[in-house]
């Protein structure tokens, strides 16, 4: 009788842990690529027709260009980007001891520009910063995303996770409400993806240009009628770190093409 009782309790506990629909949707990270139509996938896979490659090529030119007033270029310190930048983006965002916090790729580029090149920082969504982030991230195309979320990065990661699951805005929706609970569903006729960021910076058809994760987060916030955080805010960098962890195992697709 006792054994049956214990068996009953064990079965109950095991049943409660059976994957729910939400868990199934997220047990395997899926890139936004898998939610695209055949035509858009073809556009992303075509190294010429992919509009994001315009920014990658521009980044290649900027890499070698000396910048006033320091007179240095990225190439001055980092030499051949195919080697020095290979895999770099897979570890971003990361904790920077020099900065004393978790920083993303844009912030790392600007720190290099200000401190090492004696030049000025670049603003988000400018052609120049997008060209550099596209170019550098593209060097890791096909490589697996692998961010560190322990040690000094842990507080940032926890904040990012909390942010992902927190409802916000007049529509009172969290990222998870759509990107975990309704993956594969449709919103205004468009498929809902997991909202992974392995392809960023992306060429977004809606924007008709390349855009960063911070632009994407701001767009999503505004879509639920929440006031977005500023580009470069720690809130968005924390969310980036959580998102990269959430998509760990996916490969870098920069420049991805999305709707």
């Amino acid at each position: 009788m006792l054994r049956q009782g214990l068996l009953g309790i064990a079965v109950t506990i095991w049943t409660l842990q059976l994957p729910t629909h939400a868990d199934n949707a997220n047990s395997q990270p899926r890139s936004g690529y898998s939610f695209l139509s055949a035509e858009t996938r073809r556009m992303q896979d075509d190294d010429f027709a992919n509009p994001g490659m315009l920014w990658v090529e521009e980044g290649r030119k900027l890499w070698n260009q000396p910048d006033a007033p320091g007179g240095k270029s990225c190439q001055s310190c980092h030499a051949n980007p195919e080697q020095s930048m290979r895999g770099t983006t897979t570890h971003f965002p990361r904790y920077s001891a020099a900065a004393g916090r978790v920083i993303n790729l844009e912030q790392q580029i600007n720190r290099c520009r200000v401190e090492n090149m004696k030049s000025s920082p670049l603003a988000y969504e400018t052609e120049t910063l997008l060209a550099l982030t596209n170019f550098i991230s593209h060097q890791a195309k096909g490589m697996t995303i692998d961010v560190a979320v322990d040690g000094p990065a842990a507080p940032s990661f926890e904040r990012g996770k909390e942010s992902f699951y927190m409802r916000r805005g007049q529509l009172n929706l969290s990222c998870a409400n759509c990107h975990e609970q309704h993956v594969g569903g449709r919103l205004h006729g468009e498929p809902i993806s997991q909202g992974q960021i392995n392809g960023f910076p992306i060429y977004r058809q809606l924007w008709q240009t390349s855009g960063s994760t911070h632009r994407m987060f701001a767009w999503c916030n505004e879509a639920v009628r929440a006031e977005p955080y500023p580009a470069g805010s720690q809130e968005y960098v924390d969310l980036e770190l959580f998102e990269r962890w959430r998509g760990r195992g996916l490969s870098v697709e920069t420049p991805a093409v999305r709707r």
Partner: protein
């Protein structure tokens, strides 16, 4: 005519009206746009092929390939081709003029569509005959009403 015949006549008339897409002001615009490019010249269906997805992922960028059956020789070639969108606010999308070194009368690009509509391709041959084709594309996210948000 008795009541049954009258009702049948009205019913079949109504069906005939409802069969094509309901007429919008935009449909007249495209007729005017075509007329302003080609005059009132008669056109025949055929020789032009338009390849477009049946359902566009987004109206902001719809891949399109226009090709015209023609030997593209010095005496028998395509002079120019136009792409029209029947319900875009500006129906004319692009005009292609094929030069002496064109390898074929074929052209691929990405267009914007404001919503579900017909895309029309018209080609003018060296003998000044006009040929056309028309393809329906379903669009959920239109190109002309996007970006009302700040980001």
């Amino acid at each position: 005519m008795n009541r049954r015949d009258a009702l049948t006549a009205i019913g079949s008339g109504a069906t005939l009206i409802l069969l094509p897409l309901m007429s919008f002001a935009g449909d007249q615009d495209v007729t005017d746009a075509i007329k302003s490019v080609f005059g009132g010249k008669p056109m025949r269906n055929g020789r032009v092929t338009l390849e477009l997805p049946k359902l566009a992922e987004t109206g902001n960028s719809v891949p399109l390939t226009l090709s015209v059956k023609s030997p593209m020789s010095a005496h028998d070639r395509v002079l120019r081709a136009c792409i029209f969108a029947s319900r875009n606010p500006r129906p004319l999308i692009a005009t292609m003029t094929f030069g002496p070194h064109a390898g074929s009368a074929s052209f691929n690009t990405n267009i914007r569509l404001s919503g579900t509509q017909d895309v029309i391709g018209i080609a003018e041959m060296s003998d000044h005959s006009l040929w056309r084709t028309q393809v329906r594309v379903f669009v959920t996210v239109g190109a002309c009403d996007a970006l009302q948000t700040r980001y």
